[in-house]
């Protein structure tokens, strides 16, 4: 039997946690992403070829939104979990009748909310200066939610496994950051040499960015269905690993 009340209380707690430090968790990523847009867009607007009929600035907006969304969804669950472990207040949740599944769902749902809030913030500010179309809004929404959920789950895994902030920083800087930057946020992979194009196909973040971009321009580097498949498979994989870790109590239940 699903303990909806318990799940909801934990979800609300996780949302209120990032809401209480909104300058750091929402406004800062919106501003830093807009700085990327300003610098990259203005400087190289006419020098890089993307899709037909699009300026470079228009092209990178969906990528930048997705990059911020992915990083913030990851940060939400990972930092909340490691802080709870460090302060010891995770004990309160572990003593309650909340199941591993409800625990996972609450953390991931809160990560999705933060990722989407940051994404919407960037989008709203971007459309003030740039002409942006969204031709397939359902794809945009679907990829935003699935990708944020996948990254929320990945953040949770990192939070469970990490014993200290240093471990988490390593995960963030040496795994998440490179995969995000090399996922086609700033370029179409068709502009890469053949070898790097092939390498990009092994990066799951590429499919999230590409599928999300398809929602805006109705054109992408690979089929949107392939992107949906890869994103969904990774989400399921991350979810299964998390549920096993939580069920076994790895690094959280003695």
């Amino acid at each position: 039997m699903f303990n909806f009340a318990g799940f909801w209380a934990l979800f609300i707690k996780e949302v209120r946690r990032f809401y209480s430090v909104m300058v750091q968790t929402v406004f800062a990523p919106v501003i830093s992403t807009l700085l990327f847009l300003l610098v990259f867009g203005q400087v190289v607007d006419s020098r890089i070829e993307t899709y037909a009929g699009l300026t470079y600035s228009q092209f990178i907006i969906p990528g930048l939104i997705m990059m911020a969304l992915l990083q913030n969804a990851f940060s939400n669950s990972s930092s909340s979990l490691i802080q709870s472990k460090m302060h010891g207040n995770l004990t309160f949740v572990l003593l309650s009748p909340i199941s591993a599944f409800e625990f996972y769902l609450a953390f991931v749902a809160a990560a999705v909310v933060r990722g989407v809030v940051v994404g919407v913030g960037i989008l709203l500010v971007s459309i003030i200066w740039f002409d942006l179309s969204w031709q397939q809004p359902l794809w945009i929404l679907l990829f935003a939610v699935l990708s944020a959920a996948m990254m929320g789950g990945l953040g949770m895994m990192a939070g469970i496994i990490s014993d200290k902030y240093d471990h988490l920083a390593g995960f963030q800087n040496f795994v998440i950051m490179p995969l995000t930057f090399l996922s086609g946020v700033f370029y179409s992979i068709h502009s890469l040499p053949e070898f790097w194009q092939q390498v990009s196909y092994f990066n799951p973040f590429f499919y999230m960015v590409d599928g999300f971009r398809y929602g805006f321009f109705a054109q992408a580097d690979v089929s949107v269905y392939l992107s949906l498949l890869v994103t969904t498979v990774f989400l399921i994989l991350v979810s299964v690993i998390n549920l096993i870790l939580l069920h076994k109590g790895v690094k959280i239940r003695g």
Binding site: L10, I12, S20, F92, L95, P97, K248, G249
Partner: protein, 308 residues
């Protein structure tokens, strides 16, 4: 009598130590139960395994007849644990924490809000209800932990070293509150280093040492089973040197005399004869039974000596 908790051959291993080596005992419903043992005896591991903070490797723990692993939702509703470590949450006030904790148990509405108010008032936290836990003293944090443990009105309350590091005044308040909960019918399980408190409060005691139950009995029965009694002897010539078997019986030397540990079944005449033999000019003699602390030390040090 029905059982509040049943431990059945509970084993827990850590990489370099076997924390619990097959612990089995029962805690009856309505008991005030003391779980004693030196540091590293396995008390906290056992309590944490009961509450779900630690997963035991084998064995079974039942709370009010329900398995803590397969029926964890029921057992966690029945249990309220006050953990040993002080806990903080920098994002929420005390009232918010209590409301969130209630939410995890599916409790909300005016009745629950009234209970939270009552807890805050009873634990002298009302004025701090809007404060963040980071702003609180250690004693205040301890009170918050007690409020958190009681927010869902559990039948079994587990206190893991609740008075460690708190001042005398707060300690007294906590014990009065705990006694009141016990009188209301709650089962209380307590671990403490203050053995005189366990002696005064607990009707039954288990002594855990190196992951095993060393002794378990009613507190009074455990005390009366102790093979020694203690003679406090005041003498006029404390500088006199002791001779014969008396030397081995001294457990404490005071400015005005000695405390001797003597066999309960030996005659007082024999001890007096040895004192006379040593030339002690006895002014006064008082006799008392062992305290829980002496029983505890006797049981746990015997194990250490045997190991050496």
């Amino acid at each position: 009598m029905s059982l509040a908790v049943k431990f059945d051959n509970v084993v827990k291993n850590y990489p370099n130590v076997q924390a619990l080596k097959g612990v089995s005992f029962d805690v009856e419903e309505g008991a005030f139960f003391g779980l004693l043992g030196p540091n590293g005896a396995g008390k906290s591991t056992l309590i944490n395994a009961m509450s779900g903070l630690v997963l035991a490797d084998s064995g079974q723990i039942k709370v009010q007849g329900f398995d803590v692993v397969s029926d964890y939702r029921t057992t966690r509703r029945a249990l309220g644990l006050v953990p040993q470590e002080l806990i903080a949450d920098p994002f929420f006030t005390i009232r918010e924490l209590l409301e969130l904790q209630s939410g995890y148990f599916g409790l909300k509405g005016q009745v629950q809000r009234n209970w939270i108010d009552e807890l805050l008032q009873r634990l002298a936290l009302s004025e701090k209800a809007g404060a963040n836990t980071n702003e609180l003293s250690g004693g205040m944090k301890r009170r918050v932990l007690i409020a958190m443990a009681l927010v869902h009105k559990p039948r079994v309350i587990v206190l893991d070293e609740p008075t460690a590091g708190v001042d005398v005044d707060l300690r007294r308040t906590l014990w009065d509150f705990t006694k009141e909960l016990h009188q209301q019918g709650h089962t209380v399980i307590l671990t403490t280093h203050y053995l005189e408190e366990a002696e005064a409060l607990c009707d039954k005691v288990a002594i855990l040492n190196k992951g095993q139950v060393q002794a378990i009995d009613d507190t009074q029965a455990l005390l009366s089973k102790h093979p020694y009694r203690y003679l406090k002897v005041k003498v006029a010539n404390p500088e006199a040197s002791l001779v014969g078997p008396l030397q081995k019986l001294v457990v404490d030397k005071e400015p005005s005399g000695y405390v001797f540990q003597v066999d309960k079944n030996s005659s007082m005449t024999q001890a007096m004869a040895w004192m006379e033999q040593s030339g002690l000019e006895v002014v006064d003699v008082s006799s008392r039974d062992a305290t829980l602390e002496e029983v505890f030390l006797d049981l746990t040090s015997a194990e250490v000596s045997a190991d050496v």
